[in-house]
Amino acid sequence: MRSLLFLWLLVLLVMPLTVHAQTSANDEAAIELLEALDVDSFPAKGEAIEAIVASDHERARYWLQSLLDGRLQRADDGRFVVVLDNTGRDWPVEDALTGEALGEMSRRDLDRISINNALRNQLRSAIAVVDLYSPDLELRRASAERLLGEVDAELAEPLEALIAEEGDRRVSRRLAQALAIHRLEQGEVEAVAELQGSLHPRVRVALARAASGAFDSRAVTGDDPVVADAAQAALVSIEQNLRLNRMAETLYFGLSLGSVLVLAAIGLAITFGVMGVINMAHGELIMLGAYTTWMMQQLLPGQPGLALVLSVPAGFLVAALAGIAIERGVIQFLKGRPLETLLATFGISLILQQLVRTVISPQNRTVVSPEWMSGSIAINDALSLTLNRMVVIAFALAVFAALLLIMRRTRLGLEVRAVTQNRAMARSMGIRATRVDILTFALGSGVAGLAGVALSQLTNVGPNLGQSYIIDSFMVVVFGGVGNLWGTLVAGLSLGVINQILEPWAGAVLAKIIVLVFIILFIQKRPRGLFPQKGRAAEG
């Protein structure tokens, strides 16, 4: 038994060697295939790619993928290498023919085999055809997705057999649609049934072309525009469905923009709304939160997700501490003098901006999105929801709920409400008003920091980040009703939705103006906003 195992191991050891010997025998052919790629003209490269596909070489897919990624390069000595990491000045490489590691080479000695978009499309299609037979389900899914609308007569034949064999329903349905598009192009009216109800843009394009009668001339049924009529009928129901999807999409866009507004404004709803401090440096507190995220990602290289999660408490702390410093250093001396507070905090905002420019850099910083926040989830072929926006919506709601809980259910919340409603009375009841001031301002600032962490996933992390949100934040708080958290939520979300509904037909610039005019008129009519505070508290 043991000797048998040993023999087996020996075979395993020797096998690569014999394979190696074989490849060196056909090295010539392989080099020739790659040589053909190293030409200046892109059409010639296209032919070389065809040749590689046709060669059925065992490394063909590897070459094509490396070429697609721009990592297939030629060294000065004529060898073809694959670059493993192309950052910095010296790059680690491996031999394209054998896969043997060759150490590092200077970028000066390497010439990339360049491709353009046309070749990239060709490569993707070529790889898709190879991947159709892959045992990896993900590769097959991507491949089926790719082949929609790209099936030709040559591919149509094996496709039928593949659909029958395919175990995964998503792959088989996609391939069936891909095949149906091909058959529709051949003028087969039965193909329309398969495409019925699909919302995929390529299906719609194929049907639209069919409806215009483009494929009827080839039809066997004579002069009757059978295909055109069938396609037209299918299109009508598809268009209806698309309209619904578009409305859902706009609503999602609106909610997502709204949640950003809510996040940016909710810290201000506390410092301005509850405490009555006009803090023009609110935007810069958001910026600090965003920079904290960047800092965390610098500290934890290669783990953007973990860094982002850790940034939530860190961003809160940094902004809260900055808030305390601002409150103790400036605002406490300007109590009850709103104009001076406004000017002083505006000065602080400029100082913070320039500080970041001088200490860190005037350039924007890269904050990487973790894998789970990139891309989108496809609800159907026409509607997909972007993941980063979805996370931000959830985050905004969570922050809102937590704040509501703090204000309603904790002792701090009670004290804050008491102090803001009647400071003298609260003090005489034994509440330390100064301490409450500090904690409230820290809370509001910390929430601004949280907004910064979320915004780092949506927009630039740079010195100007805060400026672009300060006006919007005040707008939301005033519109919602000063001193009311629910008002901020409703105002933020509804402004977001209104903006996104207006944008397609008014344009981004005009939509913003219309929203602003609307708010001005609204405030004229109801100066206390959507949800005014009622009762004696409102008078004080």
């Binding site: 990624d69 944008e503 610039v509």
Partner: protein
Amino acid sequence: MNAPRRKALSHAAGQPSRWLAAALVSAGTLGISAQALAEDPIKVGILHSLSGTMAISETVLKDTVEMLVEKQNAQGGLLGRQLEAVVVDPASNWPLFAERARELLAQHEVDVVFGNWTSVSRKAVLPVFEELNGLLFYPVQYEGEESSENVFYTGAAPNQQAIPAVDYLIDEMGIERFALLGTDYVYPRTTNRILEAYLKEEHGVADEDILINYTPFGHSDWQNIVAEVRRFGSEGKPTAVVSTINGDANVPFYRELGNQGVDAGDIPVIAFSVGEQELTGIDTGPLVGHLAAWNYFMSVDTDVNYDFIDAWIDWTGDEEAVTNDPMEAHYIGFNMWAEAVRKAGTTDPDAIKDAIIGVTVPNLTGGYAAMMPNHHITKPVLIGEIQDNGQFEIVWQTPSTVAGDAWSDYLPGSRDLIADWRAPMRCGNFNVSTGRCGGSTAAEEAEAALAE
């Protein structure tokens, strides 16, 4: 001079050390000022925003000019004199640009100025340069429709960037529909007007195949616009986006493109304002294959470029530092000015203006740039595709260099205008159909630009 000093020393024998020190100090300053009188440094003014919104783009240009000045000094300066950089900060504030320009020319009496980024800031300083007869080298691609006696445009005019880029889309990629997206200000609006006229007149593109959309500065919510472009592009015709979106707004724009799955294979985006510097703020993984049109890319494979990059990395001390097109423009502009100074033997503006026309210096792409009579230069046009490492892969370039055209051939008002600053014409807007020179309109243009 030695004798009196010795006398002074012997006089002050009572407090030798104090007097000795004073004498040495005065002797020292005397020596320095004597040397300075002999070789008064040539002053190079730098007018780039170091604070405010434009600091993101302009700070590196200030550093570039400082590096070039130091390099020139290491080679012995110019005309046997040292160069001295004078830096002012116009703080992204357009009227302040005019004040700072005046300060440079009148107070510091600089011999040449390198500066400005936005068109509105250039318009603001134009009257100052014309009044005080200064020299300005402007390094950024712009909308054209201008030629001033005192300004040298080392960035691209529309015919050196936008027009070839659209030609590439049509000829090489077979694009039939165009979404022109831009930030709402003078450069995108003028460029898109030129492009729209060009597409309709020269390529017969129909009205419904052109989508134009403007967004405010720093726009960050691109969901709707990207969705609209996606729909615009899924009508069956090959579609491309031509982007004149400025600076900051690009990061959320590209991020949204990536997240909504708009792939370069389906709808390529070709940008005129996105360079290596802008890409440092973005994870470029999902953007591979989107395009940019420039006259220089950091990835240009020439030794002179690698030398420039190495010098830049050494100067900044940052291994990750990137170079970009406006930096190359300053490199060319600085060398052209230095060459003209050598040729004229003086830094006098009028002599330089005459000497610099026709001056040819190497660019970083392995060719040469020449100063044309209309104060624009010759440049190769390169199309690059974004790579996952934040660099561009050059996929196409013009066979030879293209001379900058100050007045577009595709706009009705400017078709007949030419600029030629050589004697005897000396005119920035000569109308060939009426045979008259329009004269300087710098003051009105500045007023109009600042009023916006």
